[in-house]
């Protein structure tokens, strides 16, 4: 029982990271109708920026976070202008290829600038964590869960209770109609890319102390997050969160009870099971109704 609680905590922690990246997928998918295959690279770039600011330059952690998130917002804006905007009137295929190209570009630029050595980013808090009963609560995992919960709450408030949030929803549901009402569609999509890049960046900053900071981390996280969005039902915000958390828990339990070397495989086994038995995902119906 103790082990189960411990694994659950760890699983939710790592699942929160998948959920954040999955949210970025879903938001861009809904706003621009394309899957952004560079979403994972946002996390990777942010982790490397943290290493540069906090480790190499030795700047304070909080300042490094602010600079990194600022950099991610800028990257999101440039990404929109360079990768999506020129192709916005085309079908989804050229845009998807464009995001794959951007993903390769970001990974290899980082490789060229920083070399192939994995880096280490120290955790935010000095303390390792504390025991609650039999369960050891690692401080970094606690932070991941708390920040994810806060972001999900913020996002819910933003989309459901602000006029800009409503305009973003309208844009994602029918761009032409949104334009006819005077909603600045290009601006709304820009905002979505900036926010998604920042979300991916936050995920990268949070997960970096848990994993090694490496060129490959983006692809690994993105694949898990992509699986999470499919399990949740593509395009559904709640589905992305539930899918991400579920995936984190499943792979943690799988590693503990079945096989550690196959840890990364569990996500894809679950993905395949969903694609065969329930391709619309857990929350899929509502997406169909929106179409």
């Amino acid at each position: 029982m103790d082990l189960i609680l411990q694994l659950l905590f760890t699983g939710i922690g790592i699942g929160s990271v998948y959920a954040l990246v999955a949210l970025g997928f879903v938001l861009i998918f809904r706003a621009a109708n394309v899957v952004n295959f560079a979403q994972g690279e946002f996390s990777m770039v942010a982790a490397f920026l943290m290493v540069v600011f906090a480790v190499d330059l030795g700047w304070p952690y909080w300042l490094s976070i602010l600079l990194t998130l600022g950099g991610m917002a800028l990257l999101g804006a440039l990404f929109n202008l360079g990768v999506y905007y020129p192709l916005r009137h085309r079908t989804y295929l050229p845009v998807i290829i464009s995001t794959i190209g951007a993903s390769i570009f970001l990974a290899n630029t980082t490789l060229a600038l920083y070399g192939p050595q994995p880096q280490v980013l120290p955790p935010v808090f000095e303390g390792q964590g504390f025991l609650v009963g039999p369960v050891f609560l690692d401080s970094q995992y606690l932070l991941i869960i708390a920040v994810t919960a806060a972001l999900v709450a913020f996002q819910y408030w933003f989309f459901e209770h602000t006029l800009v949030g409503k305009k973003l929803q309208a844009t994602s549901q029918d761009k032409e109609m949104a334009a006819l009402l005077g909603i600045p569609v290009a601006g709304m999509i820009m905002l979505t890319f900036v926010y998604s890049a920042v979300l991916g960046g936050i995920a990268g900053i949070l997960v970096a102390p848990v994993l090694f900071v490496s060129i490959q981390m983006g692809a690994t996280i993105a694949l898990k997050a992509f699986a999470a969005t499919i399990i949740g039902g593509f395009g559904d915000v709640a589905g992305a969160i539930v899918g991400g958390l579920a995936l984190g828990v499943i792979e943690t339990f799988g590693a503990a009870y079945v096989s550690v070397p196959y840890k990364d495989a569990f996500a894809f086994i679950v993905l395949v099971i969903f694609l065969v038995l329930r391709p619309q995902g857990l929350f899929g119906e509502r997406v169909a109704e929106k179409a």
């Binding site: 006029l163 409503k166 305009k167 929803q169 309208a170 549901q173 029918d174 032409e176 109609m177 949104a178 334009a179 006819l180 009402l181 005077g182 909603i183 600045p184 569609v185 109704e289 929106k290």
Partner: protein
Amino acid sequence: MPLLEIRDLSVRYGEIEAVRGVSFAVEPGEVVTLLGSNGAGKSTTLKAISGLVRPAGGDILFEGQSLLGLKPEAIVRRGLAHVPEGRRVFPGLTVRENIALGASNRSGLSKRVLRDEVEGMFELFPDIRRFGDALGWTLSGGQLQMVALARGLMAKPRILLLDEPSLGLAPVIVQAVFAIIAEVRRRGTTVLLVEQNARMGLSVADRGYVLETGRLVLSGAPETLWADDDIRAAYLGGRAKVAAEG
């Protein structure tokens, strides 16, 4: 000066010339109906006016100023609201939210004013008041048309472009929709109406234009159009029907 003037408008979709040299005008306070069968170029004309498609030639003047090259967002800010074919109510937003977004072209509205104006729309459209918090996709066709009209009016337009408001609606709902159009007109909003249902379209109109395969073939007061045998046969429900009613 006409409120809206279309001069020699042409629109192409690739090789197909959907609108060919169409000219007409809408005076302030008028209701003008564009009639014609499927594919006559009615909807395309409206889309060109609201900026959704780019004309191949000609000019579109609103209050004497050309709208060519402006994006839809900019055009609606000038006071032209387009309620497109198929209602296009946002399926994942509530009726209240849909109507409120109709004011997106007007900047600096306080939340309170916006809320009051949405409530005001329910005075004009009492049938949809009780669906205020229902999501768009749960509504019937007639209710969606009411929401789309209310949303269009929230723009406080100088001219309202209505594309086929009667399409797919039961006759009793069509009557209700046209009663509202008459009320909109009574309140001083100019209306450019596109209809296949010529009988209803002309019932509220000051003038009508008939489009045929992208060209204007006839124009005039509703009585004049009614009197034209060929037009009656082609667009107004056929000779037999008119004779039977007459």
